[in-house]
Symmetry: C3
Subunit: 355 residues, 3 copies
């Protein structure tokens, strides 16, 4: 289906040559051909650009009616006649750049909505947009061109760099953020961590949470996710790290650069992640762990111990992913046959495709 | 305990005959008897209606002091003398209709609160209520009799049908919704999906998320749940489907009609559910799966592969529920006895009742 | 690193004698020594107080350059010369009291922000602060000295006791709360529970949720957590119980006193917890269970049956923690070696330290 202009206003049309220029792709076809938008491979018509990312949709390529397709060199031979190509070693990235050219997103509307409450001493960089009912506290500093959505609350003293986007209902306190940081709707950054200690009378005494949250450049925090501020030291989310929705980050967690934390993951206090760590959906981490760079943690994994660089882990408690595959097959066999050996089924080694 | 009138204003009293009429139940007792409200079976007094749903509370029925009890034909014989009956093949439904008669919920107060910010070109159907500080964007269309709570934000271009209820702090963008749709407090509908692709420099480039969210008639989205909009195609929640709180729905997920998605479930991008699928609490689904109609997925299950129609699955990775029961008992036995056989305990086949 | 005064304004300096007095600790050193703040053990300088809680950081104690350290009697001998001591049997509590003395948190600013919408018949106790855009409904009663943050919504009829703090974007409805209750940012208290029943036509009919939420004194509800109101009876959170972020509490759940519910836990409807129950991160509870006092439930556990007082449970389905350790090691061995016995590894009994 075509992109709905009600929600995604478009630029264009753009020529094939322009798209090649924007993406650095090699053009195969008439550079003057005009394209009017983007669409999925099966849905794209003669005026639209689509893409092929790997073999998953290769069958659809033969049927393509798109005006142009972004693809890797290898698949060029399967392109139907009359369809132009943009050949790129990174077709998904090239397509994303084209999509962003056609649909650059809503235009920022600099200015402060009359219903917003902005502290007199807050400093807003040039070109900031502050939406209805937003609240910006004392001493806040925003860089240039920030977009502060409706109902956003920024607590006293927070700093955000240039080109940050805080979507409606996001809130931040005790936070120092870099450039191009995004908080999605309802994200909670800088809340008091879960820190308390019992008293002799059996009550709990709150341990003052005296740290901050530090967000590196290009960090994204997903909708309704929570990043607690540090207890004494800071909670730190490294540059480029992205959190999906409903993620929980405990106090004093530190992540490196470019980590990918999928929805509903929970990371307990003081755990430290290296660079480019991936944690799949609903995985959980105990506190005070060290997770090596480029480690990959499977969905629903329960991580209870340190993980070396580059390890792939899965299961709860987490184990190396190959072990987990073996253990899972064993479990499944126990379930299916009460644990009796099954020579005929010895080929069932992929838990994700055995049903 | 009686229903607190501070929170739930009541109509009534209503006669037994009136209740029989509203529910289609068969009346046993004096049709002129007046009832003043509803209560749980153990707590209901002579002026109140209660109900018995299945055998769970059968013992309490013999002690009932209620004015009337809604129940199935089978249990009529256990009703104490002096208690009237409303006999229904669906007692829970009949009781719910009676409860809704007594407590129809807060009355809509048509009009726009002076602190709300409504775009000049937004179209609101007759009888809509718009609460304090709500924000309604350009080009929004609301059907008749919608209730827009305090602090709700509806982004530009969204469409909602008649009789929708958006509770305080809910937000929607890029969304087309049917009639009688409910967003509970803090629900986030239409956020940017978790889509990005690496660049050669090791950064992430956001893939523009150019789809929408389509909500069928009578869809409910729970408190603080998130439904991301599609990447190119739409995310679709089928008619009557209900999401509990803190649920995550990834971009391009499609559900059929009447699915029940319990709290903290996560469904990854592009997974498709048939009709009347049930997913119990904290279950997780990988992306790009097909889940058959009437499949039932157990709590905390990890679904990694397609599921045929009508299958009951459990475990992580998920397997047929009977296999999971067997594997769980094996696990438990390994834990309890180091894996030694235990003839005396061979009857322990129900993991939910063995402690 | 020192506490950032931008976010955490400080009192002081305070003398060692004053700190001893506040904490009841035994002072070792010059009572006139002035301290200016608190810091972690490795970071504290001569003007700062730090603490040692157990053996974890004992090595750091020998290197300490702090002005004073709070510690237990046992470790006094390891303190470097020149560092003063505050000796306490509960060093974490003593340190927390000191931190709260130095950093008592933001000062309440009594009064109602002009953008707040407060119902004419709402009753606010003396010294309440009501922030920008807060909405307080008809008939609400707040005790003395409550702090109602920006964008908080309190529905009609709710009651809160003295010294409650509702952080930005929290919302409550159908709620009766005690003294010193805290709702963190985006917490949702009193939403409609997930109750509905099928109709003969295959639709769902909502069962009116006619109960309330009752929060005991000193309850804390974490950021973006959800506590649904009861269906007929109440949902009750006992005094002193603390919920972390993103927790789900279903309708009619009852907890005792002093329970600790860690992030992303889900408790299904009508389950009853005794006193001082601990549930670690991402654990899930089926509905209608009874969990005994002082039971401890492991991270990601799946609780499907009643648990006696004082039991430690783990795994999904949950089993006694010793059994779970044994079963986990078995699983891990199956994974690592295909189930062959491994005498050399028989000492690997701690799943959290075997990597």
């Amino acid at each position: 289906m075509p992109v709905d202009p009600r929600f995604h206003p478009a630029t264009g049309p753009h020529s094939l040559a322009r798209l090649a220029e924007v993406t650095g792709a090699r053009m195969v076809g008439d550079g003057a051909r005009l394209l009017h938008g983007v669409a999925a491979l099966g849905a794209a018509g003669a005026g639209e650009v689509s893409f092929l990312d790997g073999r998953r949709h290769l069958a659809a390529l033969g049927e393509a009616k798109a005006g142009a397709v972004v693809l890797a060199e290898d698949f060029l031979g399967s392109l139907p006649e009359g369809v132009a190509a943009l050949v790129s070693p990174m077709p998904h990235l090239a397509f994303a750049r084209i999509a962003a050219l056609f649909h650059p997103g809503p235009e920022r509307q600099p200015g402060i909505h009359p219903t917003a409450v902005v502290a007199p001493d807050a400093e807003l960089g040039e070109g900031c947009e502050v939406g209805p009912h937003a609240v910006i506290g004392a001493g806040v500093k925003l860089g240039a061109r920030c977009t502060i959505g409706a109902h956003v609350v920024i607590g006293p003293g927070c700093i955000f760099g240039d080109d940050c986007r805080l979507h409606p209902h996001a809130s931040a306190s005790h936070c120092i953020a870099g450039h191009r940081v995004t908080l999605h709707g309802g994200a909670r950054v800088g809340n008091e961590g879960f820190g308390f200690t019992p008293t002799p009378e059996g009550r709990f005494f709150t341990i003052p949470q005296l740290g901050r949250v530090v967000l590196g450049d290009e960090v994204e925090i997903g909708a309704n996710s929570c990043v607690d501020r540090g207890a004494l030291d800071d909670t730190v989310i490294g540059p480029g790290t992205r959190l999906d929705n409903l993620v929980q980050i405990g106090h004093n967690v530190v992540t490196g650069r470019g980590c990918v934390i999928v929805s509903q993951v929970g990371i307990s206090g003081s755990t430290v992640l290296g660079d480019y760590v991936t944690a799949a959906g609903q995985a959980g981490f105990a506190g005070h762990l060290k997770i090596g760079s480029k480690a990959r943690i499977g969905a629903q994994a329960g991580v209870l111990s340190d993980i070396p660089d580059g390890m792939d882990m899965a299961g709860s408690p987490a184990m190396p992913v190959r072990d987990w595959l073996r253990a899972s097959i064993h479990q499944r066999n126990i379930g299916a046959r009460g644990g009796k050996p099954a020579a005929a089924q010895s080929g069932r080694t992929r838990p994700d495709k055995t049903d």
